[in-house]
């Protein structure tokens, strides 16, 4: 047993865990902005997929990875605005709108990937992002290679968590966002435009999800594949619940999931434990449902989540 543990828990394991957590951090924090403003963004899976495609394509043709990230960002912001049109302006069911957005965005991703690249025997690829070692810090034993010799986007993701906590709890916009999510009528009476805040939150949410998608097709992998997201978006919906709609806790949830996932990959490779690897893949879903049931009585769900806001209706 000790040998297995020694084999598994190496520096490489923790570095991999941080990499696995990165797209989840972006998308989870993105979802968090939307949900704290009162809109459940089920478009997440589709937004990530479409952005992974647009980001990859832009990078492929321009040769610039950062231009790819910009293309992904633009995709995400537009998708967020579309979600705003459906759920804020039209006040449509957030569930159905979000699923519709995911269906549409996934369809568009596959469709345009085929239109742009055709059917090739070897999928086109790019030179993906390279790890950037941070001087001095990356020389620290253990912590250095795990935390400070990563892709640039990983550093962004790690900074995103404290930044989000600061924005949500220490800035006027964050206060407005939380009020809109808890009690839109109170926010409205105080002169805050509920619609404007929700649109902004959805666009931020789309932007962050898109970076998560772009990370997968441009850093973790060097190509776009149809299974590049494979349910990671849905995982993030679960992580937000698991994290009780709080930035730090949601981030911890993302790391916990990444830990399980990295462990699963190692155990699968070492083939020492005779448990089907699917059991590990199932774990985050089971854990989330159990947690939701246990915490339900004092869950910190944003009070106005799922309710459209119309001024004249109370």
């Amino acid at each position: 047993m000790d040998e297995i543990l020694a084999q598994v828990f190496q520096v490489g394991f923790f570095a991999a865990m941080i990499r696995i957590a990165t797209p989840l951090l972006f998308a989870t924090i993105g979802e968090l902005y939307a949900e704290r403003s009162g809109v459940l963004n089920l478009g997440i899976e589709g937004i990530m997929l479409l952005s992974a495609m647009t980001g990859f394509s832009a990078a492929y043709f321009s040769g610039s990875l950062w231009l790819g990230v910009c293309a992904a960002l633009l995709t995400g912001v537009l998708a967020g605005a579309l979600m705003g049109l459906l759920t804020v302006t039209f006040g449509l069911s957030q569930h159905v709108s979000g699923l519709g957005l995911t269906l549409l965005a996934s369809g568009l991703a596959f469709f345009f990937y085929r239109v742009i690249f055709g059917q090739q025997s070897t999928p086109p690829n790019i030179v993906a992002f390279k790890p950037v070692a941070i001087p001095l810090l990356s020389d620290i034993p253990l912590i250095g290679p795990v935390l400070f010799n990563q892709y640039a986007l990983v550093y962004w993701a790690l900074l995103l968590v404290p930044l989000t906590a600061f924005i949500l709890y220490r800035t006027p916009w964050g206060l407005h966002l939380r009020t809109v999510g808890e009690s839109p009528h109170a926010a409205d009476s105080a002169g805050v435009s509920v619609a404007k805040i929700r649109y902004q939150a959805l666009m931020v949410s789309g932007a962050l999800m898109s970076v998560g998608g772009a990370f997968l097709s441009m850093a973790q992998f060097n190509a776009f594949t149809f299974g590049v997201i494979s349910g990671r978006g849905w995982i993030c919906i679960a992580l937000v619940v698991f994290g009780q709609w709080k930035p730090w806790r949601s981030a911890m949830a993302a790391f916990l999931f990444a830990f399980i996932d990295a462990l699963q990959l190692r155990l699968q490779a070492s083939a020492v434990i005779d448990v089907p690897y699917q059991v590990f893949l199932m774990m985050p879903y089971v854990l989330t449902i159990v947690t939701m049931a246990l915490l339900s009585r004092n869950a910190r769900v944003p009070a106005a989540l799922l309710t459209p806001f119309r001024k004249e209706e109370r």
Partner: protein, 354 residues
């Protein structure tokens, strides 16, 4: 200029019929733009898409075969959404139904006459009971049903993959395919020399049954009452918990039956790709049918045409087959927006006042 949504006093029944057609027309126009972008002739592409599914008796039957699971998952979603039980889990319930059917259908030693009825029964129960779990979580623990039903799909999927990778793995080929069901367990074919199987009949019966249930029974009335206003339903003496759990049982059972049909009538086994998202397409189908059980049938046939026709269109014009996915997403969006106009009207005022 200002746009404003104004509540209508009454929705006109005329709109109920025309809205889905308007939504479909808008979808085809929007997606026509994509066909043009892909460099094909829009009219030609659509002609191939529709004609290839309807131009011969064989192709029409194949379209009905494709529509069979879609009718059932569409009904599953329609029943659940009526009670505002947001069952996004038809996909998982479908897989469980298929697995239950194969489990029963591979048992040696059962009387041969009992195989088909037992498969149907077990498949319905498997799907139904799986849907009861999120219903209990919703009613007892106030846990959001959208998230739970969605997550439960992945649990079923991975459980199925573990099964296909383990006990059910083909010992010779090593493929993740389950063993084939017994010959006696296969659904009878309704039309000689085609693939039209018992499942199509079951789907049609299910549509009529759900229509009757919703329209003429106390339970159907209760389901609608709970969906429209839980508080009023409570005052009227309906036990909301009971109604939602029964709704889940029916909804999941229908999705499970869809899985039985695919396993027992078409593939005779379970494999990783047995569902190509039938549960999710069911949501689009139900919304387009305005949750009307009889409306689900034409709606499912429409999407069966899109799904099968897209392949022929892709072969002859080179437009990617994924147009079918885009059409599904766009149809859901346009229908949602169209639905808005049954209860609201758009007021455009050119001058700002008030």
């Amino acid at each position: 200029m200002r746009l404003r949504l104004e509540q209508r006093e009454k929705s006109s029944p005329w709109l109920n019929l025309t809205l889905p057609l308007i939504a479909i027309a808008a979808t085809l126009v929007l997606c026509g733009g994509l066909i043009a972008l892909a460099g094909a002739n829009v009219i030609e592409a659509y002609t191939v898409l529709f004609a290839s599914t309807l131009d011969s008796k064989f192709n029409i039957v194949e379209t009905i075969v494709k529509a069979t699971p879609l009718v059932l998952t569409g009904l599953a979603v329609a029943v659940a959404f009526r009670a505002k039980f947001w069952n996004i889990g038809a996909e998982g319930q479908f897989l469980l139904g298929a697995m239950a059917a194969v489990f029963v259908g591979t048992q040696e030693g059962l009387p041969t006459w009992s195989l088909v009825p037992l498969m149907i029964l077990c498949g319905i129960l498997a799907g139904g009971l799986w849907a009861v779990l999120p219903a209990i979580l919703k009613t007892r623990f106030k846990v959001d049903d959208v998230v739970t039903t969605l997550l439960l799909n992945f649990i079923v999927f991975y459980a199925m993959m573990a099964l296909l990778d383990g006990p059910w793995k083909d010992p010779l080929s090593g493929y993740p395919d389950s063993p084939d069901i017994l010959m006696d367990a296969e659904f009878p074919i309704l039309l000689r020399a085609t693939r039209l199987h018992l499942g199509a009949l079951l789907a049609a019966v299910a549509a009529v049954f759900v229509w009757w249930l919703m329209r003429f029974t106390t339970l159907g009335f209760a389901i609608r009452a709970v969906g429209e206003s839980p508080r009023a339903a409570n005052y009227a003496g309906h036990n909301i918990t009971k109604v939602i759990i029964l709704t889940a049982l029916i909804s999941g059972g229908l999705a499970g039956l869809a899985g039985v049909g695919e396993a027992a009538g078409l593939h005779f086994q379970v494999m990783a790709g047995i569902s190509t998202g039938y549960g999710y397409t069911g949501i689009v189908i139900a919304m387009l049918a305005r949750l009307n059980p009889l409306g689900v049938v034409p709606s499912a046939i429409f999407f069966a045409i899109i799904l099968t026709g897209a392949e022929a269109m892709s072969r002859s014009t080179g437009v990617p087959v994924f147009l079918a996915d885009v059409i599904q997403g766009t149809a859901l969006m346009t229908m949602l927006i169209a639905l808005l106009f049954t209860s609201y009207r758009l007021r455009v005022s050119l001058t700002r006042h008030g």
